[in-house]
Symmetry: C2
Subunit: 762 residues, 2 copies
């Protein structure tokens, strides 16, 4: 048992301005002819690959596929159009394709030594060198940092990250005069544009800036330009950015107290001490790519930085944090703004797995992910992963229960993940979110959770209201419903008071506050627990949520027990939604369905997007709903009062352009309640498939859920199953420490125990 409450360190104090000092000491670093490639590929690595072609099937397959793709592109001829379009449009997509092709052709030239690939890279770079000096800002002017080739600097930085690799691969092959031309007309002005001319893009602590830093640093490494390299590592000294400035996603440009910038500052401030990324895994997946790529280049060229061990191996921690924040299929938890379906198969994760395997100690668990990916990088990290996979040393990747802290100092809440042991074949994975706001992509869902099994979502997080790159849906950008629905508290499985979102939906308040981790315990596979408190989402209200993954000897799969205490003194309306995934089968209570007229559940804070389909009330204090999803049965059993409204609803109201999914949800509503306690059991049970048509265990095995005791000091609940087995859990509401002894008398029975919780089996 670990008490997260006290685990903080003050990273901001630890960091100092040593960086600049080091930078000039190492400024003697220079590049001479015949020592390329040196950026991502190395001469040594390339020799190893060339000598061992045919021994690593996955590498050979990938090489063949890339060769086919580039050969086709060479046959089709190149096009370097004048920039004009937004994302999705021709010039945007073409320039993206171009930088990808150049990078691939560069690799192919190095691996195959076929000159046609070098020619292709050279000719395209020369086209860009011809075009670039003539370019003004991109005509769209829709970004806080408009690019030249693309509508935003971010994409321009992507271009340079890829093109610098291509340039590195053909560097020695090019004539010196060609190199001079490319550097003078293209690369140096390009790097200056991304940095000196766009400080708001370059000097943030943000994934956009990481790309900018990496781009400038990588071209600097290829050209041997210490000024660019240092600018990349340490940022611009004076950027003149005010604290109020925001980007297009409503995120602040500067973080409070931020006084450093550049790549090392990104490493210091982008991740929590254990590798958590405040925007969540969807964006970590995106953000980590330039980190890894530039770090690889630095590992090759600036061993003095020992970059993969920087800040206690922060990059490797981030890679594992990414891999852990996925369901059993490898789909990332869609917390905050995230498009569902993004997974371990993403190109950035292929990069992460190969590089982490190479630089992170050859973890054989990573090879099983490489195997699932079926693709490797065309460099020595990809080669070694493919070679070792072929040697049969892969092991299953074990996604363990883990609590991540959030914030650079690890003191801004976190995310707790509880997983049942995978060996049982019946995975239940609970993700409880008590993290910081997560900048512009954060959602107002303090103390929320989502639940997964081996097939995907059981209780869903809606994710973002966005269809990335789908032109028909708002040009692929965030849709209006992302703000009006997806970010709102009611869209999440968390408590909503008086139909108002956490922090009243104000990002500034959200950024300034966060919940506090209270307790996390995962050592006992039969009883895992995560608990956190919040006093900030609603002024004057304390919320305390404890979630338990309880494995029972007799019956699989495990169940989840959810206990929420809210205290505000006054009376309020409390809504607890359960966004279950699937089709409602039955309820234990009567309800009245809106058969011939549907109205929205409310008017604002996301409620306007929910159709109110039915309302019921339970005659006794135990209510159940059972649903069916992906071949399995699930039941939520809850403690309710006869006054509680049990609301069945569905998203899709106030949605003029059909941007929302029409997903079902269930809301426990306590009206005019004073300091309520919610106790809910989520129980997967049984299966059915339409081929055999035989259901197994279609009914819940839970007979009752009871609240035995509740005061400021202790809360005790019990869950009874139909064979009269009972589990009683007592939580210490004030002191979670494992060393403190407790005593509580309930119904004349006296319980004594040590530590933050106590489980009794009967």
């Amino acid at each position: 048992m670990k008490n997260l409450y006290n685990s903080s360190s003050n990273l901001a104090i630890r960091r100092c301005h040593l960086g600049f000092l080091l930078a000039w000491i190492c400024g003697c670093f220079s590049v001479t002819a015949q020592d390329h490639p040196r950026l991502i590929l190395t001469q040594e690595g390339i020799s190893q690959i060339r000598e061992n072609l045919g021994t690593a099937p996955l590498f050979d397959q990938r090489l063949k596929m890339v060769q086919m793709e580039v050969d086709q592109a060479i046959a089709d001829g190149m096009d370097v159009p004048i920039p004009k379009d937004m994302a999705g449009g021709y010039t945007h997509e073409r320039h993206k394709q171009n930088y990808s092709l150049m990078q691939k052709a560069g690799n192919l030239y190095q691996i195959t030594e076929e000159e046609k690939y070098a020619v292709y890279v050279r000719d395209m770079l020369l086209e860009y060198a011809k075009l670039y000096p003539s370019l003004e800002l991109h005509p769209t002017h829709r970004s806080y940092a408009t690019g030249k080739i693309f509508w935003q600097c971010l994409n321009d930085a992507n271009w340079l990250v890829y093109s610098s690799q291509a340039y590195d691969c053909v560097y020695d092959w090019l004539k010196p005069s060609e190199r001079d031309l490319l550097e003078k007309d293209l690369f140096r002005p390009f790097a200056d544009f991304l940095s000196l001319e766009n400080p708001r893009f370059f000097n943030r602590i943000h994934n956009h800036s990481t790309w900018g830093n990496a781009a400038v640093g990588m071209i600097g490494l290829v050209m041997g330009d210490s000024i660019l390299i240092n600018r990349a590592l340490y940022g611009l000294e004076n950027d003149g950015i005010s604290a109020e400035e925001k980007d297009n996603d409503e995120g602040f440009i500067k973080q409070p107290g931020q006084n450093t910038a550049g790549f090392l500052a990104q490493l210091d401030f982008s991740f929590s001490p254990d590798g958590y990324f405040t925007e969540g895994p969807y964006y970590l997946r995106y953000a980590i790519f330039p980190f890894l790529l530039f770090s690889k280049a630095l590992a090759n060229n600036r061993p003095d930085l020992d970059i993969f061990h920087y800040r206690d191996d922060i990059l490797m921690k981030a890679v594992y944090a990414l891999l852990y924040q996925a369901d059993a299929r490898g789909h990332f938890f869609p917390i905050n703004d995230a498009q569902k379906g993004m997974s371990w198969l993403a190109r950035e994760v292929i990069t992460a797995a190969d590089i982490a395997y190479y630089y992170g100690g050859n973890d054989p668990g990573l090879l099983s992910i490489v195997h699932k990916q079926g693709k490797v990088l065309l460099d020595e990290t990809g080669f070694v992963a493919a070679r070792d996979l072929a040697r049969g040393i892969a092991k299953p990747f074990h996604q363990k229960s883990i609590a991540f802290t959030d914030g650079a100092d690890g003191n801004k809440g976190g995310v707790g993940i509880l997983r049942s042991s995978r060996s049982e074949g019946e995975e239940v994975c609970l993700v409880m979110k008590y993290s910081a706001q997560g900048m512009g992509h954060g959602h107002f869902d303090k103390l929320s959770y989502s639940l997964y099994d081996e097939g995907g979502e059981i209780i869903q997080d809606y994710g973002a209201a966005r269809w990335v790159n789908i032109e028909q849906k708002g040009g692929g950008r965030y849709l209006p419903e992302n703000k009006s629905w997806a970010k709102q508290s009611i869209a999440h499985n968390t408590l909503v008071i008086d139909e108002t979102s956490h922090y009243e939906g104000d990002i500034k308040k959200g950024e300034a506050n966060q919940p506090v981790p209270f307790l996390f315990s995962s050592q006992d596979d039969m009883f895992q627990l995560v608990s956190a408190k919040d006093t900030t989402a609603y002024t004057g209200t304390d919320m305390h949520r404890t979630m338990i993954l309880l494995k029972r000897h007799a019956l699989h799969p495990p169940i989840v027990i959810d206990i929420i205490r809210a205290q505000s003194g006054g009376t309020h309306q409390y809504d607890l939604p359960i966004w279950f995934h699937g089709h409602l089968l039955s309820t234990s209570f009567d309800y009245t369905t809106q058969e011939d007229r549907l109205l929205p559940l409310g008017e604002a804070h996301g409620y306007q997007h929910i159709w109110k389909e039915a309302v019921g009330r339970s005659k006794d204090q135990h209510a159940q709903i059972t649903w069916f999803s992906r071949g399995k049965f699930f039941t939520a059993s809850m403690l309710v009062s006869p006054n509680d409204e049990l609301i069945l609803g569905r998203t899709g109201a106030s949605d003029p352009s059909f941007n929302l999914r029409h997903d079902p949800g269930f809301i426990i509503r306590k009206k005019e309640a004073k300091d309520p306690v919610f106790v809910t059991v989520i129980e997967p049970h049984g299966a059915y498939n339409p081929v055999s048509e035989i259901p197994t265990y279609p009914f819940s095995r839970i007979a009752s859920v009871d609240l035995l005791h509740n005061d400021d000091r202790y809360t005790a609940i019990s869950v009874k199953d139909k064979s009269d087995k009972a589990w009683t859990v007592i939580l210490a509401n004030r002191y979670p420490s494992p060393t403190i002894k407790h005593k509580l008398t309930i119904d004349q029975m006296s319980y004594t125990w040590q530590g933050g919780f106590h489980l009794l089996k009967q």
Copy 2:
């Protein structure tokens, strides 16, 4: 090109009462000791299996699995409870399990020669022999033909079909006194109950009766009882059933003109001449099982009947008809009452594949289905399939374009299936339904269609409103919404006039009428066509629908062109729904969404179940909607008038118990229209996956859809794509014959051609 209009034969006349004659000639057939097993297993087959164990991995695996299952059951001990429960309840499920275990144990005894399996069968049969004489009718009394062990005779017949196999396997091993007891107290009274005592169950042309016939015949074959065998083959002579009697599913007991019964009559009347089953593939899958099993027993014991060649190989035709009526994944088209997801993997289809492979000429295409199934029967047909699969001679099963006729004489409409060649990797499969009503399980959807690709449904047939065997949903039986929604015309992709279902939803009118096939052409893979007319669904209205699968050289996948002509003289409201599967992306026209209040689209005939979400109108005569489903984009392009209402809706209204799925639909509504023509193009285009986040071809390539000409004799339409390629199709509305020459002038251009249609590419 085949003109189906003239392809009828008069089966009813062909059949005569030769059956009874033959029966008594062959009545000399008898059973002597030491000649069992002879029913499904044979002594020769068993020798072959025993000698070759270890050579057919799939067979060995299956054997091992079944052995584990039965060993466990033996260890757990047997229970033969007093019948009490409905389907889903304990006694029902236990008796089902019992007969399955007995049949398996019988097979195991024969294959492994381990006596414990024979003991298990004997002991359980003796338990049943003790119980059976004491049984009255099952206490539920909820079936038109209540059973004794189960709530309906159908399940009792299942019991006897399985138990007769078990008895056959241990027949020689049993003491004569045991056999006498079993036959006297159990099998003979059981067979008489199912036949003599339940003529309404036994003497129908219906899948229930096929089970009854097979059960009585199979136990007759084991016991060598010619009376039972003949009763099974030829039915009861006098059943006294009136023409008005119905079963629990609203189906008539007697078919009009039916004057024969028994197994051979089932073979004569259950299938169309090409193997189509009027209820559709979901029920064909269920119905075919006793046909195949009893036929296999007859093939072993009554070679004189040459049963697998009976009626021009009707059983093999039925097996192939079943396999063809599935999408590329092997999921059966959910036409009529059908639960979605039923597929080639069903136990009945495993039986069908093995038996058809063995008796139908060793089609290597069937082995690829056996491979997908991963299971074989524990008899010589399963053994041979597994052996040949291991020999590596399997070939892909080719699902071809095909038109099935419906009705025993093939003159009651049919179903046309058009498929693009699978070799392209982009399957489009169109199913047009112009069949007969399909008895109690039929839907009122004349001239409807559904559309599939390699991943499943594009344009869906709703299927049945039923959760088979799921207790929580109406005990697993058909739900009220099956009648009020699923059967109604508006639930299907077909024309609905004046908000009234075909035949006004009257099954008697439906049974008495059907559409007429007009034209079917599938020889040219680039241009396939199916066409049918109906004059009966709406009195006084002629409907003519022609659907074309058009493959274009430049672009994949193929598109579907849908042309409907309706003529009634007066003005009516015409609704054409498109129940697309997926999420609406965009429309070419403006619409007004019901953002804050939803009302049902209508009051009856299924309309009460549709929420009206939005209504639009198109300014020009070309309207498009684009949706996204399972990683792919689809667009419907349609010819409309500015007066047409373009309605977006969703199922789920008037659904008090959440029995319906909430699926989206689109309706083209022509109000006060006179003899309208609907022209619609359904176009799959492009793909997107959330890992790469890169869409390909997200936009329709169709620029316009036009009606060039329309009168009683000819209809001409054209489809133009965005590169100005145009396809013009002229249909001859009266004379589909391939030999007739036609001439038509449109816009001063003169066209001449021969046959029912003409395609011009431009």
